[in-house]
Subunit: 336 residues, 2 copies
């Protein structure tokens, strides 16, 4: 097997890519601006040029086993992005096909949370685990579910949207998805900021958070205030951790994972989040499962995690029939 | 491959078993009383005697590929019943090991809802489906989750307890599991009977159900009244169907199944249940999945379903190392 994979993480702002070895070492990485090109073909040209430069500079030509791509809403089965809400190109975007054709390398795609789960399983905290659930706590809440060593993709490739579990059935917050009461509306960074606004409205005692214009408060501000002992800020973390803990208990009855792995800014809040979370999870757990699942932090460095996760998919990328044809076609000029 | 499997369904009252062929035809079946023997060894003796009689009468000696057993709380991985609440023998019960030793045939066990899912996949409504969720609506609510053609057992063999999803986070009904607000407390036969008692207390208009002593009302009574146009009874089905529909929408974000398959007495309530269920499911569905999953009824005859489900597991029964040794030991006297 060739010794490297190329991991590509496509975000709304930046596309980060890196050359990764089998032990999860990022040999080299770089990035381009995702939104710079209004045409997908031009974006692909720049990605190819820059990634090829990286590959050549690291003596990795013909040594890349596969390309793995993590992107919002990317569909593992079809290789496409069917609803690229934050991307400047019209959907569907035939991502896997286009990239494998351009590079002449087998390519697989999935959404960023599934990529994160694969990254943890291949290089991180989930090594050796066959049943776990990855929860990414960022601007939104993403998830990647692994059952018996396999990512759960569902019949349409879109499974694992646990950020949209309903945690408040009545009078819940409006979520970006148009429904109300989703986990993401409470336990994301934006959810914590919303909680801050609600708590500051409802409560009257002084708080460090009152020094910040209310619509500019971020989850980081809440964290900083809580670390300085601010009671309202600590209560916001209690509230957030409790909701997330109850949700994890509910996920347990589905796939009975060995562990929940948390990733993202909010996951680094330490005991502020973890203490109420674990208490609520244990309290809410069906007795059959009580005390069984671990809640652990991602072991991947945040700067590398997205590229590592995407790269993990590269190891299992196999040429589809269409990809194989494209790779063969791309190989012809090289052979001349 | 040998042409038959033996399916055994162990319930609190009866143990039903049957000889099944590869097309899902129950060649012959019989039953014994589960609770008759206070010792598990005596129970096993009677089961062996009666099942052997059945096998011999149908010319199936040495033609049984495997034995599949469905039993409450049976663990696929360990082959044991760790918490046999309705059974007269002390837990853990080493079910797979004891049966395979006794019969000299590879044996696998799982809980009844997982067995039902396997039955639908092998012989019923889920043939050809790789991603579906089986929901059994009986005295309780059970579930069997199939992802990519495999039953989800989880790390401990106990996954798929969707009857214990929390559907009412606040002020929910007490469930048999000791927690409050579980799906099972609302959408089981007993849940419907509880709804009847609540509705009759809260509402004042006449109802056919008022002719029955309130603590004797069954879900069947509610069905009969609704079929006669009783408004309170119809509203109880609306209430039940709505809660179940919202729960199915929530299950969708987990594994994105192609279909939900409903089984059990309540599932046969037709449009009374299905209409509010599908409306609530569609209304509550994340847009990504809206309109995708089908909700279908089990295709297995209720009388045969438990045996067929258990038998389906017999096709995949492989001797464990301990089982292989036991089978070899059992074969010695036969060879003499």
């Amino acid at each position: 097997m060739k010794p490297y994979v190329l991991g590509i993480d496509i975000g709304g702002t930046n596309t980060v890519f890196g050359l990764v070895d089998a032990r999860g070492k990022v040999i080299a990485s770089s990035s381009i601006k995702t939104g710079k090109h209004s045409k997908f073909a031009d974006y692909l040209d720049e990605l190819y040029t820059e990634a090829t430069r990286l590959i050549q500079a690291n003596d990795a030509v013909d040594k890349v086993h596969g390309i793995g791509i993590g992107a919002p809403n990317a569909n593992y089965y079809t290789g496409t992005i069917d609803d690229g809400v934050n991307l400047p190109w019209p959907s569907p975007i035939p991502l896997a096909q286009a990239v494998s054709e351009k590079f002449g390398i087998p390519t697989a795609v999935t959404n960023d949370a599934n990529a994160a789960a694969l990254g943890e399983m291949t290089y991180g905290a989930a090594r050796g685990l066959k049943d776990f659930i990855m929860i990414t706590l960022g601007t939104g809440v993403g998830s990647g579910i692994v059952v018996n060593g396999q990512v759960v993709y569902g019949h349409d490739g879109l499974a694992g949207e646990l950020g949209h579990m309903i945690v408040k059935r009545n009078n819940g917050r409006l979520c970006g998805c148009g429904r109300t009461g989703c986990l993401e509306a409470y336990c994301s960074a934006t959810g914590v900021a919303r909680s801050a606004r609600e708590f500051l409205e409802v409560r009257t005692e002084p708080s460090l958070l009152r020094e910040i214009p209310i619509d500019q408060i971020t989850s980081k501000d809440v964290y900083d205030a809580a670390m300085q002992g601010d009671q309202i800020a600590k209560d916001i973390f209690d509230y957030t951790g409790t909701i997330l803990g109850e949700a994890l208990a509910d996920m347990m009855v589905f796939s009975s994972p060995q562990a929940f792995i948390l990733f993202g800014g909010l996951a680094k809040s330490g005991d502020l989040l973890m203490k109420p979370l674990v208490e609520a999870m244990d309290r809410s757990m069906l007795s059959l499962f009580r005390g069984k699942p671990k809640v652990i932090m991602s072991e991947l460095k945040e700067a590398d995690a997205a590229v590592l996760g995407a790269s993990a998919l590269g190891w299992e990328a196999k040429p589809s029939i269409a990809q194989a044809a494209a790779i063969a076609a791309a190989a012809v000029p090289a052979a001349e």
